[in-house]
């Protein structure tokens, strides 16, 4: 069954390790930025979904459902091909024809497409997580804060939010790992500086697909473990009481 007529060249892969580590840092950078944006948008989205203003609720629903019910790659594509298309459409409404001006923009820069696409995805998933977390904070907490003289916004920011983040810390860690793994779809929009992209470039040069991608898989695994381990340490430090 296993009759392998192939010499593995692991040395070649290990020599490229520094390049791949650089790629891994870009991967981590995209994931961290997309998480920060995702959290910043996710909290308002979770609130909008519970809002009494119907259009706000619809907006949040559409965002959350699209983010959760379509592939992440689709969302990245939507940013990559879609945003320039929307720009042309809007410009067209004002009578500006990009093509007539000799400008042919069909794609966004791949780094931004991946970052924005994954941030969109994170925001949708995190909004649902936050909604569950908000439900875990008793309404009496807000009322107690208000009766102590906190304003509505301060009560939310200083009393409700910290308790919510405590409740959703573990799911947020999972989302962070997801974000790291999701950045690998960048390869489909031509991103060549993240870990998968760098690996693909090396592969195209040497055709040592198995060796390079096995090393990339190991690096992804180590990053994922460092993130979950680090999160456990942080949780231990933050939530001792």
């Amino acid at each position: 069954m296993l009759n392998i007529n192939y010499t593995f060249h692991w040395n070649q892969a290990f020599q490229a390790l520094p390049q791949m580590i650089d790629g891994a840092l870009i991967t981590l950078q995209i994931a961290v930025l997309s998480m920060i944006i995702g959290i910043a948008i996710g909290v308002p989205l979770a609130l909008a979904k519970q809002s009494s203003i119907a259009p706000l609720r619809w907006f949040a629903n559409v965002w959350i459902e699209v983010a959760r019910n379509t592939p992440a790659l689709f969302q990245v594509y939507m940013i990559y091909f879609g945003i320039p298309a929307v720009l042309q459409l809007v410009a067209g409404l004002f009578g500006i024809d990009f093509r007539a001006l000799g400008i042919n923009i069909f794609y966004l820069d791949s780094y931004w497409a991946v970052l924005v696409g994954i941030a969109f995805n994170n925001a949708g998933y995190l909004a649902e997580t936050f909604r569950g977390g908000l439900r875990a904070v008793p309404a009496t907490q807000t009322r107690a804060a208000r009766s102590l003289g906190f304003g509505a916004f301060d009560a939310f920011r200083l009393i409700v939010l910290p308790q919510m983040f405590r409740a959703v810390f573990h799911p947020m860690t999972n989302q962070m790992v997801w974000a790291i793994l999701m950045t690998s779809v960048g390869i489909f929009v031509g991103l060549n500086i993240d870990l998968t992209g760098v690996t693909q470039e090396l592969n195209a040069r040497t055709f040592r697909t198995f060796e390079f991608f096995a090393l990339a898989a190991a690096i992804y695994y180590v990053i994922a473990k460092i993130v979950t381990g680090g999160a456990r340490l942080i949780a231990w430090r933050l939530f001792r009481y």
């Binding site: 019910n69 790659l73 298309a85 489909f188």
Partner: protein
């Protein structure tokens, strides 16, 4: 169609891709669920020296991007000279990936059944298999089914990545059309997104409904 250059031929092409997406989802879920049940049973009935290594191996499948797993297995099978076609490679890798998640769902379902209930079953004279079939299965299913539906939706979305090994599924077929007609990118992607949404939204609603209904009866 609608005054654009997107033809019915393109739509049919995308529909064929959508069919492939569903076919891969079906085979991956079938294989992944069967494996997941077996692994889940082993993990919840074995001593730590079997349980821990098994958990670690399955954890690797969840901590490495699926895309890399597709490429890795595909290159491995060609090195080994198995000559599998990309569709089969896609199904096999996705089934293994699914099994890692399904194992945890099954294990969680079994653990959700109180030990006292199971002891009661055994003291009523049921053997292990009867306990599993008549006590653990009905009670555990309530916990497992909503997550299993969630997993199915996740797998359907993940099929988009078989793109990497050259299977022309829904997203790849849309991308091919976009390459030919870049001016219609938005419309083509909207159609692709709509197809994903039409398939997955009712299923996710069903999952949410079941979860709510079953919680009320507890």
């Amino acid at each position: 169609m609608l005054g654009t250059s997107v033809t019915w031929g393109d739509i049919t092409f995308m529909m064929t891709g959508a069919g492939l997406t569903l076919a891969i989802t079906f085979w991956a879920m079938l294989g992944g669920t069967l494996l997941g049940i077996v692994f889940g049973l082993i993990r919840s009935h074995s001593p730590w020296y079997v349980n821990y290594p098994m958990g670690a191996v399955l954890d690797v499948l969840r901590s490495v991007p699926l895309l890399i797993q597709f490429i890795l297995f595909n290159s491995f099978q060609s090195i080994a000279g198995w000559g599998m076609n990309p569709f089969v490679v896609g199904c096999v890798v996705l089934a293994a990936y699914t099994s890692a998640f399904c194992t945890e769902i099954v294990r969680g379902g079994i653990q959700a059944v109180p030990v006292t209930t199971r002891r009661a079953a055994r003291s009523l004279g049921m053997n292990w298999a009867q306990d599993m079939a008549y006590i653990v299965l009905p009670l555990g299913t309530r916990v497992m089914l909503p997550s299993w539906i969630g997993l199915t939706l996740g797998v359907m979305k993940d099929t988009a990545l078989v793109y990497a090994i050259g299977v022309i599924e829904l997203l790849r077929s849309s991308q091919i059309i976009i390459t030919r007609k870049p001016h219609e990118a938005l419309l083509i992607l909207a159609i692709a997104g709509l197809i994903y949404f039409i398939v997955s939204f009712p299923v996710s609603r069903l999952g949410a409904h079941l979860e709510k209904k079953w919680r009320e009866n507890d």
